[in-house]
């Protein structure tokens, strides 16, 4: 296939409608935009023939220049399955190639190539037998919160009773994504811990500092989460994983996804 030539949906029908269709590039049309923090926004895309997805999965996005040069990046699905619509939340990397376009340039009705859903391991679907009665702990650094919020939305939509903890590390209040939604989730029982690493807002009790053992402790003494999901920059994920090991978590209980190079989160 010539690079930059989108495959149409019909090309893949031989491979079976669901499995095969996750492999092709489809057109996504931008139908909605929402600001998410001072430097991130959510893009809602309409994708005809979308086969559905699970919380935690991602898509690949491809941009192709008129001269045929193309750049490809991954973005987590930012909302649970909803017919033909998919959403992504893009945090601006100012020096980046793809995120500035998605964050600032793309307008309603513009199209891009997407492929997915991708991944089957960094996924949490309420009711998974291995997780039992939980709790489940979600640990986010920066934009790593995106797939974890999708998991929380699915948890809420299905009325799941598994206790959930979200530890979300961010530099300062300007970096907070999904602020209002996190308040709502707190009101319905999610244990949300905001870990400001540099600038702490007024009235926040924790002092500025890196994610520590206290931030990932389970209230009932000695208890551990049945499953932990960690997502964020590589440096953050490595740090959180080391803390989890120190807290006695077995490797098999930890699922991680690295978004980019070591970051300050």
């Amino acid at each position: 296939m010539k690079s930059g030539t989108p495959v149409t949906e019909d090309n893949d029908q031989r491979g079976g409608p669901t499995r095969g269709s996750t492999r092709l590039w489809r057109k996504g049309t931008l139908i909605g935009l929402h600001s998410q923090s001072q430097h991130s926004r959510t893009l809602d895309l309409k994708v005809p023939g979308w086969p559905g997805h699970r919380p935690g999965q991602h898509i690949d996005v491809r941009l192709t220049a008129p001269d045929g040069y193309s750049a490809q990046r991954s973005y987590s699905l930012a909302a649970p399955v909803d017919g033909n619509s998919v959403s992504i939340t893009v945090d601006l990397v100012p020096s980046g190639e793809v995120s500035p376009y998605l964050y600032a340039v793309m307008e309603i009705c513009d199209e891009l190539d997407i492929r997915g859903p991708i991944g089957g391991w960094f996924v949490w679907e309420p009711g998974e037998p291995e997780i039992g009665d939980g709790p489940v702990m979600l640990i986010a650094g920066g934009s790593g919160v995106v797939p974890l919020v999708t998991m929380l939305r699915a948890w809420r939509q299905t009325g799941d009773q598994t206790p959930v903890i979200l530890a979300y590390s961010l530099r300062g209040p300007d970096d907070l994504m999904y602020g209002r939604e996190l308040n709502e989730l707190r009101a319905v029982g999610v244990d949300i811990r905001l870990i400001y690493t540099r600038t702490v807002p007024d009235a926040h009790r924790r002092v500025a500092g890196r994610l520590g053992l206290d931030d990932i402790a389970i209230p009932a003494t000695g208890q551990r989460a049945e499953r932990v999901y960690v997502c964020g920059p590589a440096g953050f994920v490595d740090h959180a994983t080391a803390l989890l090991c120190a807290a006695g978590y077995p490797d098999a209980a930890i699922r991680t996804e690295r978004f980019g190079p070591s970051g300050a989160d």
Binding site: R19, W121, G260
Partner: protein, 97 residues
């Protein structure tokens, strides 16, 4: 944190298997993140999603999280897609194929 061990690839981005799942799943026509890979270098087993991934060079490189040896390399060239799995002994697909 890992920049010293991988100084030779410091211009590239260290991610994990999730970041390469789109390209590899495309080739295997199946999700690869849950595939267990057996490293030929140190014998360690790890899930594809847990292996280290380097993007940004001419191709994608998958490295063992235990010993850093190359498990797989994937490159797209004008002549075709080149896949080298010589660094891994076996790939175990446990999800329905």
């Amino acid at each position: 944190m890992t920049s010293e061990r991988n100084a030779h690839t410091s211009d590239r981005m260290e991610l994990d298997g999730n970041a390469a799942a789109g390209d590899f799943s495309n080739i295997f026509a199946n999700d690869v993140t849950t595939v267990t890979i057996h490293c030929d270098g140190c014998g360690a087993e790890q899930l594809f999603a847990q292996a280290r991934v380097y993007l940004g060079g001419p191709g994608t490189v998958l490295r063992c999280r235990g010993c850093d040896a190359i498990l797989a390399r994937l490159a797209r060239t004008p002549r075709g897609t080149w896949l080298d799995l010589s660094g891994s002994r076996t790939w175990m697909f446990t999800a329905p194929v």
